[in-house]
Subunit: 212 residues, 2 copies
DNA sequence: TAGATTGTTAATCGATTAACAATC
DNA sequence: TAGATTGTTAATCGATTAACAATC
């Protein structure tokens, strides 16, 4: 009895954006907002906002609009920010260490519980008070700690094996920073970040602008 | 006389992916490929591949398929990888320094020419052989060097003013890492990265999977 | 040549936008 | 109550997929 159909990925990808705007509204003391007013701020249509939100429920009120705090908390729940995902970083290089100190992740409900690497000179060190451990101890670590997510910031050529190992340890979600499409393994969920892809799109758009 | 209509952003965003797959094919010594075979590897339809490529020209040959090296070089040109964009990093914190050492950017035609910050303890130091300079010297630096792109890895609250300053210095493209939608200023092109948005989507999908 | 595979047009699908009755 | 604005259905738009004639 699967009564509600799956929300499209296009909608899901807009949710963090709604969350950011609502957070800003809340911070500036605005308590109610109409889809019309929000659409002006976000640069999308009011129709789209109402359609998107109605995938999850009727959070508004006719003639009034939306209560900012209520809507903010609803999206917080929908996005799982209240879940407190236990997260490990695999790969304690520059990018791994940068992500470890990224302040936004904790605010969004992601708790860093461990950092792993294979490089002897790094192991035993710590980032943000969290010890860097040897990757081979991840399996034991996952038995003791219920790890939800692994952030993969490992060299390109090691990524597939590390991903495979992480999922074998029972980690169900991978956030991959290598410039490759990691294939789903052992049923794990994967988000590929592809920073250089994004930069290449910027380059394309810059050339396009200059040519016009 | 604008005879060719603008390529949709959906297509442009797939180009780096084609580029990666072709690079891999080239590395493994495969010299020709059909849209059918490539579609299997990439997990998209052959129709989409042919449609996408034909936005830019007819690179294939009936009965044969595509020459891998030729197609690779065409996409390289289309994406502007041959352009060698001069790039500066603004914000020499953890993320800025991590990006400075990210090996893929140079390979993709982005040359790091300067790093800027306002923090006195950082200025004078260097990353990857490139001196960290005071942000207020950026204007002069841009007069002496033709800077194409600024990578913004500055704190959230300083981002709008820094972006505005960078564009006033004549920089036409910004790659923004702050969790906010930077508005186009002085006609500059902007790509927002939004790492925490991506992580939140991963969290949503993980919850969704667990609930099913 | 015959088989394979492109380039391109037409059909389908899904996402966005418009419209409006319901109702606060 | 009258005005405003939602939730939702219908219309539109654009992107993806299918089909196939052209041709290597």
């Amino acid at each position: 009895m699967d009564e509600k159909r799956k929300v499209s990925i296009a909608v899901v990808k807009r949710l963090p954006r709604y969350y950011r705007y609502l957070s800003d509204l809340l911070a500036s003391g605005i308590t109610r907002i109409s889809s019309k007013e929000l659409s002006t701020r976000m640069g999308i249509t009011a129709s789209q906002i109402r359609q998107d939100l109605n995938c999850f429920g009727g959070f508004g009120q006719q003639g009034y609009g939306y209560n900012v705090e209520l809507l903010y908390n609803e999206i917080k729940k929908i996005m799982g920010i209240t879940t407190n995902f236990k997260t490990v970083i695999i790969g304690a290089g520059n990018m791994g260490r940068a992500l470890a100190t990224y302040p936004n992740f904790e605010k969004r409900g992601f708790e860093l519980v461990g950092i792993f690497d294979v490089e002897p000179s790094l192991i035993g060190g710590s980032v943000k008070g969290i010890k860097i451990m040897h990757l081979y101890t991840l399996e034991k670590f996952c038995v003791d700690n219920k790890v939800d997510i692994a952030i993969l910031t490992v060299p390109h050529d090691r990524t597939p094996e590390v991903a495979e190992y992480a999922t074998r340890c029972g980690i169900q979600a991978l956030w991959n920073f290598s410039p490759m499409d990691l294939k789903v393994q052992n049923g794990a969920i994967i988000e590929n970040v592809h920073l250089s892809d994004s930069l290449m799109v910027l380059g394309y758009r810059l050339n396009e602008k200059r040519e016009s």
